[in-house]
C-alpha cells in the first residue's frame, strides 16, 4: 500500500509541475518552439494543455534550446 501511495504521490507532483509549466508555455513558449503555433487560436492552446502537463520535460527542453539559439 505504501509503495502504491508513494507512486501516486510522485505522479501527482509530476502532473502538478506540468500544469504549472503549462500556463506560461501555452501563453508564450509554444510559439517559441513551433512556428506553426504563432498566431494560433486559444482553442488550440487549450487543447494541448493535457499533453503539456504530461510531456512538459520534453517541451521545457525544447523551449530552453530555442531560447538559447535566439540569444546567440
Amino acid at each position: 500500500m505504501i509503495f502504491i501511495t508513494t507512486i501516486l504521490i510522485i505522479m501527482a507532483l509530476y502532473l502538478l509541475a506540468g500544469l504549472v509549466f503549462a500556463i506560461p508555455f501555452v501563453i508564450k513558449g509554444v510559439a517559441v518552439i513551433d512556428e506553426g503555433a504563432r498566431g494560433s487560436s486559444w482553442g488550440f492552446r487549450l487543447i494541448i494543455i493535457p499533453g503539456v502537463t504530461v510531456f512538459w520535460p520534453v517541451l521545457l527542453n525544447k523551449w530552453l534550446h530555442a531560447s538559447k539559439i535566439k540569444r546567440s
Binding site: I4, I33, G43, V54, F55, V58
Partner: protein, 344 residues
C-alpha cells in the same frame, strides 16, 4: 506544418464523419440500454452506464484497429481513415467514462484512496482466473489517454514522427490489455460466455485482416526488377499508369511512387511526411499529389508541399524508352525539382 494550428481542423468531410460517429454512438447506447432493460429488469443505473460505455468503447476500438488493414486491402475504405483520430478520441471518451464510473462504483465509497484501492483490493497476481483484471483495464486506459492527448498534429511535430508513431503503436498493447480485462472480468463475474465469444471473434477478425494486409504488401515488396540500364530499372509499361494516379515500386527496400500528371511521369518517395501514409495510393488533386490518409499535398515535379506548408519528400529520375518506364532508385535530396518524363 507551417500554417497556424487550429484546435480542430474541421472541414465538410470531417463534420459529416463526426456527425456519423455521434449518431452511431447515440444509437448504440440507446439500443444497448433498451435491450438490457427488457432482458434484465433488475439492472441498476450504474451497471447500465458501466456496461454500455465499455461495450461501445470496445466496439469502436475494433473498428479503429480494422481501418488500417481494410484500407490496405481495398481503397474503398480510405474515407474511414481520413478522420480516424476523432474516432480514437471518441473511443477514449467512452473508455474514460467506463473507467471513471467503475472506479467510483467499486473503489470510491470506502476510506482508501480509490486509485490505491484499485491496486490493493485484488492481489491475486499468481492466479490466472482470479487475476486483478481492473488493473489491466487501468493500464489500457492510460495508453489511450496518452494517445488521445497527443492526437493533435502539434505533437506529431514536436515529439518527432518516430516517437509519435511508436507511442501510438502501443494501441496494440492496449488492445491486448483490453481483451484480457474483458475476458477475466467475465470469468470472475459472469456465467454467460457471450462477451468472451464476441471479443474472441473480434480478435480473430483483426488478426486475419492484419495478416491479409501484410501478405498483400509483402508481395509488392518482393517483386524483383532485373533489367537495369545506367542505374535505371525497368518497372512497367507507361500505359499501365492511369492519369492522376500512381504505381508503387519497391526497389532496394524503398517504396517509390511513379505518378502520371498532364502527360508526364514523376517519381517521389512513397512515404508522406505527416504520418507515413502511402502517397502512391492517393491521387492528384488541384495539381498536387494528395496523401490518401489525411490529405497532405506535394507538387509532383519537386516533392514540396505548396506554400505555406513546408513538408518535402525525395524525388527520383524517371524516363520512358519505347513506351517502357525506367526508374532510377537513387533519391535526390528532399524537394529537388526533376523534369519528369514526357509520355509520347
Amino acid at each position: 506544418m507551417s500554417a497556424s494550428y487550429v484546435a480542430v481542423g474541421w472541414n465538410r468531410q470531417k463534420k459529416i464523419y463526426d456527425w456519423l460517429i455521434a449518431g452511431f454512438c447515440f444509437t448504440y447506447l440507446l439500443l444497448f440500454i433498451s435491450v438490457t432493460l427488457i432482458v434484465n429488469e433488475q439492472v441498476t443505473f450504474e451497471t447500465l452506464l458501466i456496461r454500455s460505455t465499455s461495450t461501445l468503447a470496445v466496439l469502436l476500438l475494433h473498428v479503429i484497429l480494422a481501418i488500417g488493414p481494410l484500407c490496405r486491402l481495398d481503397k474503398k475504405f480510405l474515407p474511414l481513415l481520413y478522420n480516424r483520430r476523432h474516432l480514437g478520441v471518441t473511443m477514449f471518451t467512452f473508455a474514460l467514462a467506463h473507467g471513471g464510473f467503475s472506479i467510483f462504483q467499486f473503489h470510491a465509497l470506502g476510506n482508501t484512496n480509490p486509485f490505491v484501492s484499485l491496486f490493493i483490493s485484488n492481489t491475486n497476481f499468481n492466479s490466472f482466473a482470479a487475476f486483478p483484471f481492473q488493473a489491466l483495464g487501468f493500464f489500457a486506459l492510460l495508453i489511450f489517454f496518452l494517445m488521445a492527448i497527443t492526437s493533435h498534429d502539434f505533437w506529431l511535430h514536436n515529439l518527432s514522427p518516430r516517437v509519435w508513431k511508436t507511442l501510438h503503436m502501443f494501441v496494440y498493447l492496449a488492445y491486448l490489455l483490453v481483451v484480457m480485462h474483458v475476458m477475466l472480468g467475465v470469468i470472475q463475474y459472469e456465467n454467460n460466455p457471450v462477451f468472451v465469444i464476441i471479443i474472441l471473434a473480434g480478435a480473430v477478425t483483426l488478426i486475419t485482416l492484419h495478416l491479409l494486409a501484410g501478405s498483400k504488401e509483402r508481395k509488392l515488396d518482393k517483386r524483383k526488377f532485373s533489367l537495369e540500364q545506367e542505374g535505371f530499372m525497368y518497372v512497367c509499361p507507361a500505359e499501365e499508369i492511369e492519369d492522376s494516379r500512381a504505381k508503387i515500386f519497391c526497389i532496394d527496400k524503398e517504396r517509390i511512387a511513379v505518378y502520371r500528371h498532364e502527360n508526364k511521369l514523376y517519381a517521389i518517395h512513397n512515404v508522406c511526411k505527416h504520418q507515413g501514409g502511402p502517397l502512391g495510393e492517393g491521387k492528384i488533386l488541384d495539381g498536387c499529389i494528395t496523401c490518401p490518409w489525411h490529405g497532405y499535398q506535394y507538387l509532383p515535379h519537386n516533392g514540396q508541399s505548396p506554400p505555406p506548408f513546408k513538408e518535402k519528400v525525395s524525388t527520383y529520375d524517371v524516363k520512358i524508352i519505347d513506351g517502357k518506364v525506367w526508374l532510377n532508385p537513387v533519391p535526390f535530396p528532399e524537394g529537388t525539382e526533376r523534369p519528369g518524363a514526357t509520355i509520347k
